[in-house]
């Protein structure tokens, strides 16, 4: 009975959301993505048996699959951690109503077990199982095997929530998971504790004597109960009301005084970045971006592929620009009305964002100078990319920001929390990276490396030269959408 009400509530919250139109757009996109994934898995499931038979003619495909289960479990967990979120329900209004807490918790948990991520593996497992049956494997055993894998999927589902609930408080929420899976993988890889064998032996045993299916079922029940306990505890109001007043670190940031009129905003932005979880994660992502070149340049296949130098250059010097810039002005959404009614010129506000991004590019370029180890061409390309970032990409991303209509709730944790991300923001990432790379490639074949680097640089310099004019245009764009932004940032959804 209660479940009917819950579903009804969620339906209304989804369809009465203020930004319904946009979220439908995103949903359709996600739908296509999901469909594509399902089809891929389905296809993989169908060719898995003949494929394995062809590559390893003298091995039993089923045993092979079982021996890889460990990696699947691990990969699945990581994948889920980043993309699957526990279904949220606004429970606060429900707490004072005569509804048992356990009902709410059970509903949320059960709903999660119907997640897309749990059905996806079935599209691989079922066709593979069916193939097994047609190849005269014992029907009962195969069915039990399929059931066992479905249960493992569910175990992963609930395990993920336990991991998430533990890591959600940390700044670097993904670190514990990465560490844990790294350790598990390492132990397995160096044969210290062979989880791969344990899991594969276990599943083989279930296949042989179905009675062992009890084991995964028990694990599933235990994990479900643990989840239940964690969630139930969270359902008490003091969990959310508790004042976790953090220690305040005040600093004057005197050096920003040198920026004159832009100074106050710079100070505000630096505090914004450093004092909020959401923004702090952009700093950590910056480190990842800086190291990105190592993945590319150490790859022998990449040496000499100069267009990738530009790509890496734009990416690694511009990672902060892209991460921070794409949410201008949404970062300030929770106090946007203040900014709009205060004694502020829009132009200065935007100028401060521009200055901050420019500095990040310069700093990231300087930090990236050691890439010269991979050849002077790499450094030269990075230099060209940095100038391009300053002259072109900063402007483009600020311009894109004038289409920003989604509030960001700063308190929410989040690397990979896509709140505040609209379709427009992702679109803007493409020209930022691919355009310079495309231009470079085009000229590379016509003129060679140095000349095409110069062309990228000239584009950047042009952007710097016409900075005032461009900013005037961008400011106009922001002014045009002022009312729309204020209204959108006022909505909580």
């Amino acid at each position: 009975m209660m479940v009917k009400h819950f579903i009804n509530l969620e339906w209304k919250s989804a369809f009465r959301a203020p930004n319904l139109g946009k979220s439908i757009g995103v949903k359709i996109f996600m739908g296509f993505l999901g469909l594509w994934l399902l089809l891929t898995f389905l296809g993989a499931g169908m060719i898995l048996y003949p494929g394995l038979k062809k590559i390893f003619p003298d091995k039993d495909p089923l045993l092979l699959v079982n021996s890889f289960l460990f990696y699947w479990v691990l990969g699945d967990l990581i994948f889920r951690f980043f993309f699957q979120k526990l279904p949220v329900m606004s429970v606060k209004p429900l707490l004072v109503l005569p509804i048992k807490r356990s009902k709410v918790v059970n509903y949320v948990l059960r709903k999660s077990s119907l997640s897309f991520f749990n059905f996806l593996p079935l599209f691989l497992i079922i066709p593979f199982g069916v193939t097994l049956i047609t190849k005269d494997y014992p029907v009962n055993s195969v069915l039990v095997w399929m059931l066992a894998l479905a249960i493992i999927t569910q175990i992963n589902n609930f395990l993920n929530y336990i991991i998430e609930s533990f890591s959600s408080k940390a700044d670097l929420s993904f670190l514990p998971l990465v560490a844990l899976s790294g350790i598990l993988f390492g132990l397995n890889h160096f044969n210290i504790i062979s989880f791969g064998e344990i899991i594969s032996d276990g599943v083989n045993a279930i296949y042989k004597s179905p009675i062992f299916i009890i084991a995964p079922i028990l694990i599933l029940i235990i994990i479900y109960l643990v989840n239940f306990k964690i969630l139930r505890k969270k359902l008490f109001l003091d969990g959310t009301l508790k004042n976790k007043a953090e220690a305040v670190n005040t600093s004057d940031l005197e050096w920003t005084k040198n920026f004159g009129e832009v100074g106050p905003f710079m100070r505000l932005d630096i505090k914004l970045i450093w004092r909020n979880k959401r923004t702090k994660s952009t700093v950590w992502i910056m480190v990842l971006g800086l190291l990105y070149g190592l993945f590319i340049y150490t790859n022998p296949g990449m040496s000499g592929k100069t267009p990738f130098y530009i790509f890496v250059g734009v990416f690694s010097t511009g990672i902060f620009l892209m991460n921070f810039g794409q949410f201008v002005p949404a970062w300030d959404s929770s106090y946007y009305k203040l900014l709009m009614s205060q004694n502020i010129k829009y132009e200065k506000y935007l100028k401060s964002k521009f200055t901050l991004m420019t500095f990040s590019v310069i700093i990231l370029f300087v930090l990236g100078i050691p890439y010269v180890y991979f050849g002077w061409k790499v450094l030269f390309a990075h230099f060209a990319a940095a100038i391009y970032n300053i002259g072109v990409n900063t402007h483009v991303i600020l311009w894109g920001g004038s289409y920003n209509r989604k509030k960001i709730n700063l308190d929410q944790k989040a690397a990979f929390n896509y709140q505040g991300t609209g379709a427009v923001q992702w679109l803007i990432g493409i020209p930022l990276l691919l355009l310079p790379m495309g231009i470079f490639t085009g000229f590379y074949f016509l003129t060679g490396f140095e000349a095409s680097c110069l062309i990228i640089m000239v584009m950047g310099v042009l952007g710097v030269v016409f900075h005032q004019k461009i900013m005037l245009f961008i400011t106009g764009k922001y002014l045009d959408s002022k009312y729309k932004m204020i209204d959108a940032f006022d909505q909580d959804n």
């Binding site: 976790k244 007043a245 005040t250 106090y335 946007y336 709009m340 009614s341 502020i344 009312y483 209204d487």
Partner: protein, 235 residues
Amino acid sequence: MITTNNLSKKYSGTQVLSIESLEIPKGQSFGLVGNNGAGKTTYFSLLLDLIEPTTGHIINNEIQVNKSEDWKPFTSAFIDESFLIGYLTAEEYFYFIGELRDQNKADIDKLVGQFEDFFHGEILGQKKYLRDLSKGNQKKVGIVAALIGNPEVIILDEPFANLDPTTQIRLKRIIKDLAEKQRTTVLISSHDLMHVTDVCERIVVLEKGKVVKDLKTSEATLKELETHFAETSVE
């Protein structure tokens, strides 16, 4: 000081505000009362150019607010928590607003120092971010921040709500002083008829977006307002 002409605001066909003309002279303490949905916050938002008027305009000290931004230097407001920056401490917030209004740190310290008893020792030197303060304390910060930089027009939406009785009394003193001694035009809205009649020289009653009463405050005003609202039928 503030002239409203033919102002109206419609949301998808529904008229939420319609004021033919309203003149607020300089130095007046002006109170806006009305039931929920009467259009008080809408009017203030229009004054601050946070929403677009459907027709008409507001002129603030000879500047049409939806055409030019030049009203900003002499106008300040506290409407709701979205005027606070959650990740700053109270002091940092005051300094930030001060910088926007060309006040140096000493000016701010002096101004804020006057409100020590208003803050009741719960705001300054607390080493707490604004987001961690209680609703009432947040409101105090917002109200005081609206006084920074000697603005000529101050707009406060529901300033008495969420405040404790002691603070309400102190706030009344502050608002009275502003209008009487400093010739500041103060616009407040409130659901509390008593407070509003205490503080304001003039009270305008809004009903479904229209001005239905425009009273100069006197002994009889509270009675009149109470009778009016007791008789207003709620649909």
